[in-house]
């Protein structure tokens, strides 16, 4: 059976492969945006601990 095109009496019909490829591309793009967010969070966390280690910032409130 022709899995690539869905036949109609008069119209051409959608291409299954094309829709799957577009869906996958959109999914990967959205996933890529999430990955960028994740890498940014990791970078900020690493920077935070680096600054903490070097003593440039502190999480302890200075005693008055």
């Amino acid at each position: 059976m022709a899995g690539h095109k869905v036949g109609h009496a008069t119209l051409k019909g959608p291409s299954v492969v094309k829709e799957l490829v577009i869906g996958l591309a959109l999914g990967l793009a959205a996933g890529g945006l999430w990955k960028m967010h994740h890498w940014n969070e990791q970078r900020k966390t690493r920077a935070f601990y680096d600054l903490l280690e070097r003593g440039e910032i502190s999480v302890v409130h200075p005693e008055e």
């Binding site: 899995g3 999914g27 959205a30 999430w34």
Partner: protein, 260 residues
Amino acid sequence: MIVLKWLFLTISPCDAAEPWQLGFQDAATPIMQGIIDLHHDIFFFLILILVFVLWILVRALWHFHYKENAIPQRIVHGTTIEILWTIFPSLILMFIAIPSFALLYSMDEVVVDPAITIKAIGHQWYWTYEYSDYNSSDEQSLTFDSYMIPEEDLELGQLRLLEVDNRVVVPAKTHLRIIVTSADVLHSWAVPSLGVKCDAVPGRLNQISILVQREGVYYGQCSEICGTNHAFMPIVVEAVSRKDYGSWVSNQLIPQTGEA
């Protein structure tokens, strides 16, 4: 300076539950950081699948609307697509399983020589902490109870249902062993920022190893139903510098040696 301020203000640590909180609390141990990273890895696949399935759904509704497509097709087989939609999910599961097992086994690693051992004993409805590494002259270990501060006794800025009268003070950047048990019914010693949840079972000693990476105050709550005041026996861990920890231990022990 502006960069420092931006970094600090955007990453002011969140080590307690917040109203309308959506994500995790900030990690204060390597274990919790690993849990957050694993969640992010899995969420990538979740988003991919969600967007892909939504796209296919919307397009199917679009193309096969009854007005556009009066005669439905009767498709019974599609060998290629059936193979694809078996193999791709298996691959996704494999990509999820690898970091998951790596984290699981690393969490099970027991630190061979922790600097300090603390016992956390659950009661109805409070926790008792024992620091048995420091025995005073009458062989009594440093022991204290930790009760929730009732709402009417809270000071300005304190957190409702989370504050306690005596916190678990621990040194930061030091390997700790926590032994959790119970004196009566089941409880669970849980602190989200530290990535810790350990059941307190009467007659059993459960052990966990933690390394708190930064000083701070970390809040948790009992996580196993234990009776009417299950929601009112929180846990507060205060990580301080080693010097401050030494001073705290000395101060705790002095009254006991004074009495001996």
